[in-house]
Symmetry: C2
Amino acid sequence: MDQLRRLADQGVTDRAALDALLDSQWVGVLSCVVEGAPLAVPMLYARDGDRLLLHGSTGAGALRRVAAGAPAVLTVVALDALVVAPTTFESSVNYRSATVRGPLLALPDDERTAALDLFSEVLLPGRTSEVRPATPKELAATLALALPIRPDGWLMKVADGWPATPAESGAADDVWSGLVPVRSTLGDPVPAPWAVDLPVPPSVRRLTAGDA
Amino acid sequence: MDQLRRLADQGVTDRAALDALLDSQWVGVLSCVVEGAPLAVPMLYARDGDRLLLHGSTGAGALRRVAAGAPAVLTVVALDALVVAPTTFESSVNYRSATVRGPLLALPDDERTAALDLFSEVLLPGRTSEVRPATPKELAATLALALPIRPDGWLMKVADGWPATPAESGAADDVWSGLVPVRSTLGDPVPAPWAVDLPVPPSVRRLTAGDA
């Protein structure tokens, strides 16, 4: 398999492609440095134009550290297909990945409520109008962070397409090769035990109608 | 949304659960430190018992650095469901994540061929017997790395289950809540244009019959 060479070969500079990837996923990996060692934490994120919103508990150590301005990078990956080539050396995966480099900014109190509402709205559009507003206590317990998407602050890599041919691979012509697509899909909503008699709300209906 | 508090709450120490997560995914994010800043690279990996095998081009800078013994951590995440709670504050995701901490070991020449074959076999069992062996030139171009899974070298977090109840959330009883499952599935194999008349090989048939 040959994933890193493909990574190096296929940088993408189209901002629309970056946005499409970021908008298609919910979770990224936030990497930062703590006492010289790498620290990585999976994080929900939501894109708001030229920034990514993240949030977490005010008690979370890693998050407090990046909130204080330590360098950080958020990595988002979508796996699109297994690439079964005529040789193991040429076999790989089709994927899209992006890294967005910080520092993260902790949002001040007067921006936090709006940012957290927006975070919820991006992840599940329409939901904030179906539930009560966050309470002051909830807001006080939540750190809201923004990671700006600066023109020189992101990298995107894409591997897409067919495997190397038998001739390119130095392989016999009768070895099957092709793609095995990998898909992420949303299942039907499952009500909580106390909600089985309630109608599925519009936000959830729209989400699952549109799919992941 | 409240993902980080859940992360902090739900550590898992069951090694079998770790192995099941690692074996269910293909791609992780490798985080290391370069000149004080975090560097993150998506990587294919394959579990071989108590170690994870990774590989890449001998020309890849980040990989050469971690191969030289720099601290590194591989993060693997599976998103299982969106958790739609009666409030935005309690809404979150169900997921499984693992971090496996290095350093990575570069495998010596006499172990590399076997490790790379094993890597291919874990990702697509049976494939190595369907294709020609790797050539000396291919092997020379490929770095093989091992990340030991040490008893004190990994952390797993799991969020699973229903959202907080209306009473726990301080919400009205008539607000729907529940889960939206997220599934990763494999599609039917798609032959490369030059392979449309060839039978799909057993390795690929087994993979897609078993699903992701």
